[in-house]
């Protein structure tokens, strides 16, 4: 089984990289991009039967820094 973890900076936390991407898109002529937030996707290859609680614990303890980041987990 696989888990896909999306990690994003929380709303309200400045994302200078996203802001730089937004600026670049505007410079390239793409109009109407009001905001860009950049995060990361972490794919986990897991043993069958790994619980969502285990993946949540991985997120809480290492994959995300919950002071600044939020995360979502997709299992498949």
């Amino acid at each position: 089984m696989k888990a896909r973890v999306h990690v994003m900076l929380k709303n309200g936390v400045l994302d200078p990289q996203g802001e730089a991407v937004r600026h670049a898109l505007g410079t390239m002529g793409f109009q109407g991009v009001a905001g860009v937030r950049q995060g990361k996707v972490i794919e986990l290859d897991l043993e069958e039967g790994t619980s969502e609680a285990d993946v949540t614990a991985m997120c809480e303890k290492l994959l995300a820094n919950t002071v600044i980041e939020s995360y979502t987990v997709e299992l498949s």
Binding site: L9, V13, L14, P16, Q17, L62, N65, V67
Partner: protein, 222 residues
């Protein structure tokens, strides 16, 4: 004073920190990240700058899970002294020993220069040899030094006089210009600027010396 300096794969300021401790008169032991305990009788632990574990995932995140960091956390929980500089500050926030987090610099650039720091409090072993309000020149060298904490944490830091240093001219977007903070018991300091790089005339500045001398004075049994 007995100091231990932690060495991670990718640390690059460990020897500088050790030299600064030694010059102040401390006995210094280097401790590899795979160790599970600190040497007996250590008064202060130094977590140095660098790029621990390549800064993979987040700066300091992997280092914070290393065996030695569990020992550093236990040392801090027992009321032991610790200082984290630059990457070491990031490690201390990732372990939860200090609050907040360090984000990418607001201007996205790696910055390496001497900056003016304002000493916000002289009420700690680290800053007792300075006067509150002193402005000192200390080098910074970081890409992710943009200190972030939520409003409640910032208020708590301010109200409990735990902001150790602020930038006179904020280089990286840190909230409230914060360059360094203290733990609740004032025995752990985390800061992005490098006092160990302003500890010898050959460095071009010696404003960091007072920190190591102050520590020596506070932590050496009379």
């Amino acid at each position: 004073m007995r100091a231990a300096v932690v060495v991670f794969p990718g640390s690059n300021c460990d020897r500088d920190l050790a030299v600064a401790f030694r010059e102040a008169g401390a006995e210094v032991t280097m401790v590899w990240h795979k160790e599970t305990t600190l040497p007996d009788g250590v008064d202060i632990v130094g977590v140095p700058g660098g790029f621990s574990y390549g800064d993979y995932l987040r700066c300091g995140a992997i280092a914070a899970q290393s065996p030695i960091c569990q020992a550093v956390k236990a040392h801090a929980d027992r009321g032991g002294y610790a200082i984290g500089v630059c990457n070491g500050f990031q490690v201390l926030t990732e372990t939860g020993i200090l609050p907040g987090a360090l984000l990418r610099n607001a201007g996205l650039k790696y910055i390496c220069k001497v900056v003016d720091l304002k000493v916000e409090t002289s009420s700690s072993a680290f800053t007792s040899a300075y006067n509150a309000g002193d402005v000192i020149g200390i080098p910074i060298a970081h890409h992710d030094g943009n200190f972030y904490a939520d409003d409640a944490t910032r208020a708590e830091l301010r109200d409990s006089d735990r902001i150790a240093f602020t930038y006179a001219d904020n280089p990286n977007g840190s909230v409230d210009d914060i360059a360094g903070i203290l733990s609740e018991n004032r025995r752990v300091l985390g800061m992005m600027p490098h006092p160990e790089r302003a500890a010898d005339a050959g460095h071009g500045g010696t404003d960091g010396v007072a920190m190591f001398r102050g520590l020596m004075g506070a932590l050496t049994p009379a």
